[in-house]
């Protein structure tokens, strides 16, 4: 197992944004993570990569316990994430953005440059290498998020809604890119609201609702599950909420 999430809970004051979630992930797979707005998906990413300290539970990566470690340490161990709300280093060029991550594994400037450039090629952004990041459009920013994460040469990649706001051709593009990344041996967890895309990409899917894992299965199993349909289309108000 590459990643083991064991009864992880994250509380913000009284609110359990992630509540007693457990799952395992094998190397080389793509795992989908879905759920309605506010279900705790992004928060779960923040817990895995150490941006937020978890309240309870343990997270094991590659046989090593990572819960409690700082995010830069976890990045160096091989977990990279993209932000749902893109966070480019606005005054640096696209290539320089990617190079920041590349320095995670090398001290050499030239090596970092070629790692960064490779990451940009993977997401088809190399033609914008010298553009200052604040001038990129949304689609390009989403790609840059992935390139930055890739340049740290991760084993596990956490993608948070990298297709949101893209046109349908751009979405198809992105699906292709994600497949290519996975084909190089990088394990992926992907959060996405675009069902078509996530259903076609993921081998297994986990559904979160109000911080709880309500379902795990193949795309087919998930899309036919009554609990999932209820979570998305709603049952009687408040029934589930404080259960």
């Amino acid at each position: 197992m590459l990643l083991k999430i064991d009864s992880v809970t994250k509380k913000f004051g009284g609110l359990s944004a992630v509540s007693d979630v457990s799952f395992e992930l094998e190397e080389g797979k793509i795992l989908g993570l879905i759920g309605p707005n506010g279900a705790g998906k992004t928060t779960l990413f923040n817990c895995i990569n150490g941006t937020l300290p978890i309240t309870e539970g343990t997270i094991t990566f590659n046989g090593e316990q990572i819960s409690g470690k700082k995010s830069y340490q976890i990045a160096r161990l091989g977990i990279a994430r993209s932000y749902q709300v893109t966070q480019p280093f606005g005054n640096m060029t696209t290539l320089q953005n990617a190079m920041v991550g590349a320095f995670c594994k090398t001290k050499s400037y030239n090596e970092a440059e070629s790692i960064g450039l490779n990451a940009l090629k993977t997401v088809q952004l190399d033609h914008k290498a010298e553009i200052v990041a604040k001038h990129l459009n949304l689609g390009e920013r989403k790609k840059l998020e992935i390139a930055k994460a890739l340049s740290t040469q991760p084993k596990l990649l956490l993608l948070d809604e990298v297709m949101a706001g893209l046109t349908s051709t751009e979405v198809q593009d992105m699906v292709k890119i994600i497949r290519e990344i996975n084909a190089t041996g990088i394990t992926i967890i992907i959060i996405e609201h675009i069902m078509e895309a996530i259903m076609s990409l993921s081998e297994r899917i986990i559904v979160l609702n109000f911080g709880k894992k309500i379902m795990e299965g193949t795309p087919d199993e998930v899309s036919n599950d009554q609990r999932v349909i209820e979570a998305y289309f709603g049952v009687d108000e408040g029934d589930e909420e404080y259960a």
């Binding site: 830069y72 990045a75 005054n91 640096m92 320095f103 930055k148």
Partner: protein, 329 residues
Amino acid sequence: MINKLLSKNNSVLWIIALASIIVPFFLPNRYFQDIAVMTFLWAGLACSWNLYSGYCNRLSIGHAAYLGIGAYSSTLLYVNFGISPWIGMLAGGAISAVAALIIGGTTLRLKGTFFVLSTIAFAEILKVMTITSKDITKGALGVFIPYEPGFSNMIWASKIPYAFLTWIYMIIVLLICVKMERSKLGYSLIAVGENQEAAENLGVNSSRTMLIAFVMSAVLTSFGGTIYAQYIMFIEPTSVMSLMNSINFILLAITGGMGTAFGPMVGSFILTPISNLLRGYLSSVSGLHTFVLGLILIAILLFRPDGILPQLKLFFNGLIKKSKATKGV
């Protein structure tokens, strides 16, 4: 904001920096040579300040503290024990490094205004301590350095050797900054300045990165402090460690362009002569030169908020293109 790290083509700026050493030889008298020395010195100091604050986007308004540590360390060692200021300069650097480690270790994690205030507080506390520790520092009276010219004393009769010394200081600081811009440290530092959390997510240890740069900045400033003391040959706490000095670092860097290796140098090349000449020519009305200087600064900030360097680069790039075109390249 300027496009940081974009100083890929620095050749014209290097030529300006290297060629500037001939200027003092053409100046008619000691008055103008003095302005040249101060221009080089402040260029080096502002570049040192910029190494942390400019690249990392975090204002230190207390760098006069490290200027003071450099000045007092070498001066007290020289005056009391006859130790050469060259060695005193290294001693001052070491003391500044320790001070910056302690101050930085506790305050760099502070966000925004709190960090800025803590840097001012440190400089002010150090100034008061220097005034009150009369037994060691002679307090507010200040310390005179006896005039005994010689290389090992870092004292010369002519202004020219001082011009050389301050110019070399400036060049060394520039070399360090340019080298840093093409290194892991530089990339990490700028990334932290842009977005600390996103940088950490890419494996950047932000506290360590900031601390290293902060210590480097303090040590280089301290070296400048020793040179300053040996040049003026008299130091007193209220002038060396004044808030005015702390602010001058920032003014020069902002005027030229923060977060670029050559920006602060350009700032000093423009502002230090203007400010000195204004003081000379407008001395009839007291305070008038500060007023005019203030107007110039406001104009720069209004019309060139990124500093003058980006504009200068565009200008030079245009010239280079033109000359290539006329040569038919």
